[in-house]
Symmetry: C2
Amino acid sequence: MDSEQLREHAHKMVDFIADYYKTIEDFPVLSQVQPGYLGKLLPDSAPNYPDSLQHVLNDIQEKILPGVTHWQSPNYFAYFPSNSSIAGFLGEMLSAGLNIVGFSWITSPAATELETIVLDWLAKALDLPGDFYSTGKVFGQGGGVIQGTASEAVLVVLLAARDKILRRVGRSALPKLVIYASDQAHSALQKACQIGGFDPELCRLLKTDSSTNYALSPDVLSEAISSDIASGLIPFFLCATVGTTSSTAVDPLPALAKIAKTNKIWFHVDAAYAGSACICPEYRHHIDGVEEVDSFNMNAHKWFLTNFDCSLLWVKDRSALIQSLSTNPEYLKNKASQGNMVIDYKDWQIPLGRRFRSLKLWMVLRLYGLEGLRSHVRNHIEMAAYFEELVGQDTRFKVSAPRTFSLVCFRLLPPPNSEDHGNKLNHDLLASVNSTGSVFITHTVLSGEYILRFAVGAPLTEMRHVNVAWQILQDKATALLESS
Amino acid sequence: MDSEQLREHAHKMVDFIADYYKTIEDFPVLSQVQPGYLGKLLPDSAPNYPDSLQHVLNDIQEKILPGVTHWQSPNYFAYFPSNSSIAGFLGEMLSAGLNIVGFSWITSPAATELETIVLDWLAKALDLPGDFYSTGKVFGQGGGVIQGTASEAVLVVLLAARDKILRRVGRSALPKLVIYASDQAHSALQKACQIGGFDPELCRLLKTDSSTNYALSPDVLSEAISSDIASGLIPFFLCATVGTTSSTAVDPLPALAKIAKTNKIWFHVDAAYAGSACICPEYRHHIDGVEEVDSFNMNAHKWFLTNFDCSLLWVKDRSALIQSLSTNPEYLKNKASQGNMVIDYKDWQIPLGRRFRSLKLWMVLRLYGLEGLRSHVRNHIEMAAYFEELVGQDTRFKVSAPRTFSLVCFRLLPPPNSEDHGNKLNHDLLASVNSTGSVFITHTVLSGEYILRFAVGAPLTEMRHVNVAWQILQDKATALLESS
């Protein structure tokens, strides 16, 4: 690690990456390679001797980039976005450069303390209740932490809630514990239940439909809880979603919170995608009721210009997390930790080691400011509203669920008297559109209908990209309808 | 994300990082700040408006760096190393630049395929048995995957083993499942047991002592298993360690493997630290017996020049992992996945999202070659052997456990007839040495004795740094012994 060689090589890599962004629209946004393509291009053993950086960069250009699906392309409208930005990228660079492993405060005090501070900044920007702050109104009981992903966020709070109730009712009650969410909750919840040793049958994914726009009905929840209690089961965890993956449905937090409170259930809110919008006053109402929840999660790495991974989790009762996740081996003991003078985030997460992820989030906040981030979000919502309008103007299509943020759910209507009720048609439309390489969108199923999802959120996307995407969708629809 | 602004700003960050490495020895290696230092230096809210990169870089220099513990300093001998290298850093840069989220093959085929290929390369370099390869001798049953940390590696195989046995004996047997390891196993195992819903009493950390150099005794294991079976419990998981955290003890894999096989127990090997050495023919014998294990883990981010995080896990039965960790929501379905034509690594890990981590490992292998990596490891082992010699020459000290790799365990002997049996003395010596800021070492406890650990492994460390560290240790010892 010679500093001058680092300088020289890293400058080369900067130019490589800047050139990549300059030409990003030249690549098919969805990689068009076939399974196994790379094995044919690379040798079957690691080299014994060093190669030059130039050869490696050539291989990246010729062999790796064709196999990349370009999440940063302005033509990327799939899944949810995964924002990269200059600030986020610089933060990742610095984090990789320092390459510290911040499991305990002592292993880099700045890593722990910057995380605590920045999570408090965000709690304030989101107007979260005081008991989610690490410092401030109610000191030291709650707090924020950066997890890798929303999957890990829901897992750690599920474990904290599990162990909290088991300490009260005894370990043998594990097979009686019941988890609630809507059938629109992210699959991460189901995975967390698998991991935590729960009876998979007792992960109740309550049915939703278009009557509530796919939001969880408080009545349905109440009934399920009553029925489970009557059967001798123990309700203990509720996960609500603000901005579901399929259609950005918003579960009604205030009504659900009342039920959770009455039944002494840990109430977690997954706002992985839509949380970012809630820093805008006009969208903040979607998390009204958050005062009454136990934990809250949003992904800064989705729609908040912070490079992957950076998932923000706040809890009101940090001790529950720590009791579930702490270990205290001799070789990690130190004065600051033993004296309870500091936060050791290793006890708030699954892994031991952790990267210096707060740097990138801090740099995003510093270099763009909250107003810059609000414009970013509003700009995408405006483009999504425009796309929704375009869909509405073409009578061959319909919008399938109300647009709340920057996702539009829509489908091509099957021709009258068609045997196919539209699912195959839309499946084919998706494949046809994505095979062009000029646009990438994905799908879901709502009430049995195959639906296309148009998720605006890539930082480079402009109105002209939305127009081109719509043109391709229309053209491919015309071709499909003509051939059917 | 303007490509020219990215270029300009990233070049600035490269110079900042290269200058950091140029001056890295000017910082105290262990940060000397007090808890809460950063809160006094930063405002209590996020800024509303953008600031300049230069202001942010100034703040990093003046406010963040004093709170950093410099894992890349040549004077860092604490815990285990966390290598950064030019190649590893460039790989992180590129991964952050592309910023893809590679949960499924389709989300960037190159990310999945490069990972598969590079893990096969490493399997070959380590001479792992054919059934650990994704491709090759026994296609498609086993395979390698990059986890974030060894904690996640042991967790996912523990879950796979748990669900495999529960499918056979029924879910209600969960409270009867028994896990075995030595009392030297990493605390990650205990944490994994907490997460997986096991009875913590049934995580048997079997006693070791100096008679086996802190390695797990096959006889002790056999007895424990027999006794548990006699009590109606179900042994199902064994974790052995090659290179324990406290003293780099090596559990005897062949003898343990026999016992595991007889009892149909999943046998996992944690070689997080020492695995790197096993690419050298002269150290490969430490993992003899790996042919008979079910899963094997080494951390490329420790001692293999690959920036954190990058933990390599191989399994013989990928289907066990996938059965425990897969979910298949509609919104992630795609032709390649549904057709079982590809690997979707989301089903081999805890989180859904994943970074393009294979890039940095591939670049490390390309830019240094296996021979370069072997020299890297040998060079550190040589320095550790030299340090061991220095300790041996000073009769006030003793080496506390045999040195096998690049860690030396030693302690200052208490003066004759001292009331303190040395624990306070060594505790004070550690504090005194670390407060100089010129060296950072950590400690452990072996057989009740407080032991100092001198772990060589930072890429910048040279013989002269070892000499200086030893001089400081001797000087501080002299001062302590005189004042006592």
